[in-house]
């Protein structure tokens, strides 16, 4: 087998950082415009009040909260791929890890904006920070929203560090390959990294500890987000299934997002040699497993509710199965379960294109799932006189769309400044492993091993 020279690998993966095309500038400009529109709409909403949205009595939560849960869910991609596969030493993860970790970091940032967007008085959001205030008042630690604050911030900080640490050797690489402002900039970012065995050992040790820590953090984050719903005695919310249900849904939507992003990166940055069909195959299989698991949870939830037949819950249930929200529900089932199944289960069909189509469907389906958890239950809560309905208005739709543009923009900018595939980790993947045994035997025989 021909061994790729380290230089060609480095050249290919550094090219997006060192060369900029017109397409980059045009895309950045367009996306920045859409994001600016989103921010403008947010400020319009702050100025005039939340009344410009479709929220009402009793459906006080709608698009903004759906987007919050959706984006936090998307952020679970990176952790699964990076941390779990790192710990079990799955070598196919190498080109994929940084792509995934970047999705996590940016999806978290976007998701964490939505609690601010949905507040009635967002300029007071800093009251959630626990500090000794002159009012002697601390946050209410019994509230799931305060748990959200702690969990999401912990996850965000950990993810950013998890992303930043293995980037240091790559910054050193760029430092050595460039001159001028790039040399200075990446010189500062690489913190004087030399690459001594001691440094490598320490870095890998730190990555291992962080991978071990970040998996429970990620699981706890979406469980805590699910607690925003399950802690309230609202029809179809107050269920013990919500914790695992949300985590599985998050991983599901995260892998779907990763597939889409990887396919785009592969095409636009010409990385076909590195992001190979095998990666999409493996992620496709994982997504299939998640689809089945997700279907299992949905079935569980619905069967138990239907069988129990409590009047408190039946109106909400029927509205999703046969009533007002049923078109959305059945679309969701089709996109999350029916469509991906043949595309991913049949090996001959499971190509990169098929995986991406299935992933797009899953992203739409999972967004619908979040919406269908929130809105029908609130519409049919309490005494029938107080039931209501919800339709979004233009501010919610604009902010929703611009969140996708924000993700694309952040990703684009990232891939411009930092190699989207971790170069040193790819190089490690090229090493033959048999050498260790032979050398160690030799050394033992010669009595040299300390």
């Amino acid at each position: 087998m021909t061994r790729r020279t380290n230089n060609s690998l480095t050249d290919d993966l550094l090219r997006p950082v060192l060369e900029t095309s017109t397409k980059f500038y045009v895309s950045t400009g367009l996306l920045a415009l859409i994001v600016a529109t989103g921010f403008g709409t947010w400020f319009y909403q702050i100025y005039y009040g939340l009344g410009v949205t479709g929220d009402n009595w009793p459906v006080f939560w709608g698009f903004h909260e759906t987007n919050f849960v959706f984006w936090i869910g998307i952020s679970h991609a990176g952790t699964l791929i990076s941390a779990i596969l790192r710990i079990v030493n799955a070598t196919w993860r190498r080109p994929v890890t940084r792509c995934a970790e970047v999705i996590t970091a940016f999806a978290l940032m976007i998701g964490a904006l939505f609690p601010l967007i949905h507040l009635g008085r967002p300029w007071l959001a800093w009251w959630l920070i626990p500090y000794p205030s002159e009012r002697f008042l601390w946050p209410n630690y019994r509230s799931p929203l305060v748990w959200d604050f702690f969990a999401i911030n912990t996850y965000l900080i950990s993810s950013l560090l998890f992303l930043a640490l293995p980037a240091i050797p790559d910054f050193a690489l760029i430092r050595d390959r460039t001159t001028g402002w790039r040399n200075w900039f990446y010189g500062k970012l690489s913190l004087g990294w030399q690459g001594t065995p001691k440094q490598w050992h320490r870095l890998e040790s730190a990555m291992h500890m962080m991978a071990l820590a970040i998996i429970p953090i990620a699981i706890s984050v979406h469980t805590i987000v699910s607690f925003d719903f399950s802690m309230a005695v609202v029809p179809m919310w107050h269920s013990t299934i919500f914790g695992p249900y949300f985590v599985v849904g998050a991983i599901f939507s995260g892998i779907a997002a990763l597939n889409i992003v990887m396919a785009i990166v592969r095409k636009t940055l010409h990385l076909e040699k590195y992001l190979q069909p095998i990666h999409f195959h493996n992620l496709g299989k994982l997504m299939l497993a998640m689809s089945l698991l997700w279907g299992y949870f949905v079935f569980n939830e619905r069967l138990v509710t239907w069988y129990g037949n409590t009047p408190h819950e039946m109106a909400a249930l029927w509205s999703t199965q046969m009533g007002r929200y049923s078109p959305l529900f059945w679309t969701m089932i089709f996109f999350n379960f029916v469509l991906p199944f043949p595309l991913l289960a049949i090996r001959k069909v499971r190509s990169i294109t098929a995986t991406v189509i299935a992933s797009c469907a899953v992203v739409v389906g999972m967004w619908l799932e979040r919406f269908l958890i929130i809105v029908p239950s609130l519409s049919y809560k309490g005494t029938p006189y107080s039931w209501g309905a919800y339709l979004p208005r233009w501010p919610e739709i604009v902010i929703f769309s611009s969140s996708f543009a924000a993700m694309a923009l952040l990703y684009l900018l990232f891939s411009k400044f930092i190699p989207i595939i971790s170069i040193w980790e790819m190089k490690v993947g090229e090493h033959p492993h048999i050498k260790v045994a032979a050398e160690v035997q030799e050394a033992e025989a010669a009595g040299e091993l300390v």
Binding site: D55, W57, R121, L378, G382, G388
Partner: protein
């Protein structure tokens, strides 16, 4: 001695006239949101008369029930507020502290009775309507939750008056606006900690039930009705 404020609503007396709704609006500076906003479902009636009817005219059967904040002992709206804007007072009331509210609306979602309302816009009163505002009650800005307070300003005024006169509070001396305006005397307000008060006696009445008791909220409002709600329309 610590009070424990409660209410009894006699469904056999209520005529559904909605004088209580109007009185509550005037007393508590509740904005009227206008026709467009009301059509969007943003009306803010701290007390509302829920109407249920069946049949066609002239054989219509109507049932109605005044619903207001039940001041639950184990209120689901209280633990979920991240900033302690919704908490339990020592006199058994569920306090809504406007200054502390950042508008997450979680309390409204957690409330099983849908008695919490949100200021989607900052209300305004064109002159000279601003003169109708009650100086004892604050005006809330946009982004803040509000709900029935059992007219805490009247409770405080009554306690202060009794304290100044150095006498204990008399039963029926404090009346929230809805209680005061009820034409049929269907609403009774008083101190559940006082065994001799009218509301304590009515709370033990065999005609008494609690609304959505199965939610486990321990509401403090007793609804009185001969027979059951499900059987017959209000007589």
């Amino acid at each position: 001695m610590s009070h424990n404020w409660g209410m009894a609503v006699d469904l056999d007396r209520c005529t559904g006239c909605e004088a209580c709704v109007v009185a509550c609006h005037s007393e508590n500076n509740i904005p009227t949101v206008g026709a467009t906003e009301a059509a969007r479902g943003r009306a803010m009636h701290w007390i509302r008369i829920e109407r249920y009817w069946e049949g066609e005219f002239p054989d219509v059967k109507v049932k109605f029930r005044p619903v207001l904040c039940q001041q639950c002992d184990t209120a689901p709206c209280e633990p979920v507020c991240p900033t302690y804007a919704s908490s339990h007072s020592e006199e058994g009331l569920n306090s809504q502290i406007y200054n502390r509210c950042i508008g997450t609306r979680y309390c409204a979602n957690a409330c099983g009775y849908n008695v919490r309302f949100f200021n989607f816009f900052t209300p305004s009163w064109d002159k000279p309507l601003h003169l109708q505002l009650n100086p004892d009650v604050s005006v809330r800005e946009g982004g803040v939750m509000e709900k029935c307070t059992f007219c805490i300003q009247r409770i405080n005024a009554g306690k202060i008056a009794a304290g100044l006169a150095q006498r204990p509070l008399k039963d029926g001396e404090i009346q929230p606006a809805c209680v005061q305006s009820c034409t049929a005397n269907a609403l009774v307000f008083g101190d559940l900690a006082d065994p001799d008060s009218m509301v304590s006696k009515l709370a033990k009445s065999p005609r008494g039930t609690k609304l959505l008791e199965e939610l486990g909220t321990k509401p403090k409002i007793t609804y009185l009705q001969q027979g059951s709600w499900d059987d017959a329309p209000n007589k």
